[in-house]
Symmetry: C2
Subunit: 308 residues, 2 copies
């Protein structure tokens, strides 16, 4: 019998104030049957990503409580950061991990979205697989204009929220809630401080620019690191893998005379995505996760330090 596991990876518009980040982590930990897998914050983005897993009922409760804490503690009127945002709890995605489908996650997103609008007075937009119309599928389209722009946007034709009133919450903005496949947040830092180069590369590699399917990309400047960054989301790694994304950025960077300094994964990725990337890099022929990796059989191998 497979245990049903859903993952929720809400993004919050606070990546600097450790007290607020701790309050969010505590909120997650206070919900029964929830596993807090991690919390990743970035000062330049001024954004935090919390990863939790649990059964459908628990994950719905955790997502709501996290959104509530964010609304109580984060004031977007004072928020600055390089990453686009429109809400204190900016986006709340649900992902099937084990024994569940996207349809199960769509159902959860409706329950949680309705509750956020009703109990917190935050307008909610359903996105990705939960979207109520094609133009709301892409989070970037919903978020366009950001928090500041939403006071007008919410009243414009076609942008009424899926749940809640046409009134932006004055400090917590609006929130996107939806179901999606496991997403890999993969950032590549370039050996340049020129954000224009990162923007050019992002425009080339992303799907919306005619680049790689299921790849979203932004070019940003990281003041803290003195580097320009191509910040990417891989929305279906079975279509565009980490390996393909990396090589495409590398190639475009080389055309512009810059190289890759380092990369980073924000939050969690499935082992399968990384194993397949290794297979690509190491030229492993006839590689398949199911044929060569123990974890494909539901076996999680202990670390060597636990074996000796």
């Amino acid at each position: 019998m497979t245990r049903t596991i859903i993952e929720c990876v809400p993004n919050f518009s606070e990546g600097r104030d450790r007290k607020i980040i701790a309050a969010l982590a505590e909120t997650a930990l206070s919900v029964p049957n929830i596993t807090l897998l991690g919390c990743s914050s970035d000062a330049d983005h001024n954004r935090s990503v919390i990863t939790v897993t649990g059964n459908p009922e628990s994950i719905a409760e955790a997502a709501f409580q996290l959104c509530k804490t964010a609304a109580e503690r984060i004031d977007l009127r004072k928020h600055t950061g390089v990453h686009p945002r429109m809400g204190a709890a900016d986006v709340i995605p649900f992902t099937p991990i084990s024994g569940a489908t996207i349809a199960d996650c769509v159902e959860i997103s409706h329950i949680v979205g309705r509750r956020i609008a009703k109990e917190l007075n935050i307008p909610v937009y359903l996105y990705e697989e939960s979207a109520s119309s094609p133009n709301r599928k892409n989070l970037a389209a919903i978020r366009k204009g950001g928090f500041e722009g939403f006071f007008e946007k919410i009243k414009s034709a076609g942008w009424e929220p899926d749940f809640g009133e046409k009134t932006v919450h004055e400090s917590a903005g609006v929130t996107a809630v939806g179901a999606r496949l496991p997403l890999i947040a993969f950032n590549i830092n370039l050996n340049t401080q020129d954000a224009e180069i990162a923007k050019k590369i992002a425009a080339k590699v992303r799907e919306s620019g005619g680049g790689l399917k299921c790849l979203k990309a932004l070019g940003v400047s990281l003041n803290a690191k003195g580097a320009a960054q191509v910040s990417m989301n891989l929305t279906n790694y079975a279509v565009t893998s980490l390996f393909t994304a990396y090589n495409c950025v590398k190639e475009e960077a080389e055309k512009l005379g810059v190289s890759i300094a380092e990369s980073e994964i924000i939050g969690f990725a499935p082992a399968r995505a990384l194993a397949e990337a290794a297979a690509g890099c190491l030229l492993i022929k006839d590689f398949s996760y199911n044929s060569h990796v123990l974890e494909s059989r539901g076996i999680c191998v202990d670390s060597i330090s636990n074996m000796v």
Copy 2:
């Protein structure tokens, strides 16, 4: 409560005759509570590797039954192949996977080794963590001289078997049984048919040649593929990773004017080893399996095709 899982990856001296390989797979499948994860055969090596997992009692039974089938079906007097070998069931390693330690596997290796000697009249040598003396730790040292040489070797000073009589089984040879950490069998094919180049690289990169720790390597020629191969075992990927091994072979190959054509993983590897290789290749900074991979938390993520 953690389920105790032990892996056994016996190597058999038959990689060509499909009927014999099928008989081995059927033997594994006939043992209750055993999962047959895979079977990989190579015609050049004339060798097959079967991967099974189960609880301690089941895995001990499966290992014995597999050795019995091999003794009944494989005749080493007729065996040819590029890989060194000394037994029909050449080597039977036990590895802790989950909720078990090397010490548990040493105990299993003693039980199985004693039974093979007693019931099948095959002399058994304990190796790796089970070794009865330091010069028996390394399988290559035990196997030196191969099946043909063992008729003399078994009678020489210091080479009496750990279990059984000083008489090589006339068709099934001798068998090594032991406990070891998860081993990754990683072969790299070169863009050359010159086996001497592969041998030179192997001699440079392996621990016994002053190269990488916990790396064993042989240079062989693959007639079926028309390529020279560096055939490696990584005996502790926490010490020498796939990434390090690959780069070291690449570097030595380049010094000799050849390049890497492709690589292969024989049998199974832990997701952790591949994820860490990806992190090396993709320059992922601050990567740790526990912080970035869902499977580190005991969660095995379904494939995307199961989610949609």
